[in-house]
Symmetry: C3
Subunit: 252 residues, 3 copies
């Protein structure tokens, strides 16, 4: 049973998402539509790209992922789809699909769109549906080699301090950094954020009981996060996206 | 695979919507339940009616659309369903199904309901499910000819000015009017809303860059809207639903 | 077609719920995932338990219900599933599954979890999926007899007054008590909440027109509720969860 996931900044109060699902089901009512989220901040291409990167791999192979955060919709930017690790990705050519652009196609479409066109519903949704039911890519687009790419911020090593930043704050107020577990020193570490110091990594939230802020690996994202046991670290620290976080080896 | 869409003012924090879906799947677990939205303002029958009117046609034929905004639930108002353009509609007889009432049926139900009845779950959901799997309408209701209808507001021509109003504000703050693209003059126009003037229609949001407010056709609804490039026109103008909007030909 | 319902305190802005659904569909893309709600207040085990208790029975037999409100995730609490009235329940052993624990199993899992584990996605979701497609319980867990149970608050009879409390406030501001319809006196009653008195039960909201607060049986939950016709009783009274409510027979 083919799967199409959807990630947008449309919210769920308007019928825009449902219109897209209706178009998908009109191609084949057997397609499964799964929402990743529609609560991306309006126009926040980076966050949509980041969340999709962290989510797509849990879906079955051959799933199609529709990502629409598209502040210049209707303008001259291209509509694209791409193949990446046996998954398919569909969206505007504005960087939202950056992590997945190893093999990219421009969607065939009329260049002089009717002004009543809602591209999410009238172009992206049907293409996603056709890809989901196995229509050959050559009938839907032409290969391109210059899709727009954005870079997600990366941590840097300055002297012997690893400097990252908070790139996402989740529903629980966990402060999620761009520091991958793999690059953390294996020895004892000290973490500093907004003037507050945290000694070592906890293995779970419970270990942080009575400890104030704790640092651990966020299981959802596989990234270093700062959290508060049964609390909200974002409210507690006042940190926002972009806040710097420093990691030092304790033996130095 | 049969499709049932749902539009309500129930929100998604309570289990009411899930209870309805459970009842639908208990009739046939193969039915696909698609949310249009559950964020209709409590009791706002007009908005539910408007959003469903703009959405239903993107779903496959024979889809069933369940619309429950029902401030007098449990009272004497009838429960109905209707057939319209190869789609089916189910809901209370309070006007929420107004655009779809060419062929309407009163749902057969016990007139002395158990006070524990939740009509959305116990009456509307199973009827929607039975209609979705093709049960004959004559087994579910009896034809009626006097369903309650409400009229959505329509624009008027006063002298040579077309006067409409804002009937919906979406997640992006776009101000959506009741003026259909088809009735706009084809010549150059000037739009006025809350003392602000907009020259001509833009073809897309990007054309409105550096222009302040812009007017264009909302692709989702096919209606004239006022927007702000990468901004929120509702916040910028302070307009609310009901705000008047005037369109004049520029050559006059 | 197998059904898995999901109730969590994850919200829908993060991709955590979608990751779980992806894992479920990776076991079998034919499984139907239905959200009960993800808006449980963070860590509110009692509410999740209550809402699931009131919802599960509307789903088809053999449905699997995944309940994840798990403030001590990753710690030493067990992961369990249980069988109850031809439904299956999966979640942490912290009381969230209290009403369903007649036959309970501890999920087989590695006790030394990789810190990158997100149990909802990596343990609970696949177990729910395997149960949904009929995998034998003995391959997924071992029977236990001491699961953690919490008691939902119960009304008490003091002298001849029935004293309950508000245990849930819904989207409409209806104040839902823990008083089951079955234990209400059949004679005329008087209800008192926060110093306000209500005479008798209404049969529906409309009967409460021009009456101020009304009391009736909430159809969704089968419990006594206090409501305001076309209004919000929670805002009107200022009542919060935990507010006491008293019921007296009027002939006394």
């Amino acid at each position: 049973m083919p799967v199409v996931t959807l990630i947008t900044d449309f919210g769920v109060g308007d019928p825009y998402v449902a219109m897209m699902k209706g178009r998908i089901l009109s191609v084949d009512p057997g397609i499964k539509c799964i929402d990743i989220t529609h609560d991306i901040e309006v126009g926040d291409i980076e966050s949509a790209s980041f969340l999709l990167l962290k989510s797509y791999k849990y879906f079955p192979e051959d799933s199609v992922h529709l990502a629409i955060v598209d502040p210049t919709v209707g303008g001259s930017r291209r509509a694209i789809f791409s193949q990446f690790q046996n998954h398919l990705f569909v969206g505007p050519d504005n960087g939202v699909l950056s992590p997945f652009l190893s093999r990219t196609y421009r969607i065939n479409k009329n260049t002089d769109l009717d002004p009543k066109t809602f591209e999410g519903r009238d172009i992206f949704a049907p293409v996603a549906a056709y890809l989901a039911i196995g229509k050959e890519v050559k009938h839907l687009g032409v290969r391109i080699y210059d899709p727009v790419k954005i870079e997600l911020s990366k941590p840097r090593m300055i002297d012997s301090t690893l400097i990252g930043e908070i790139i996402y704050i989740d529903h629980f107020g966990n402060l999620i950094s761009n520091i991958n577990e793999d690059i953390l020193p294996s020895s004892d570490i000290e973490i500093e954020i907004k003037g507050k110091k945290i000694e070592g990594l906890s293995r779970n939230y419970e270990e942080g009981k009575n400890k104030g802020l704790l640092a651990l690996i966020n299981g959802g994202f596989g990234l270093l996060e700062v959290a508060l046991y049964k609390g909200n670290a974002a409210l507690y620290t006042g940190c926002k996206k972009g806040e710097k976080i420093a990691i030092r080896r304790k033996d130095e």
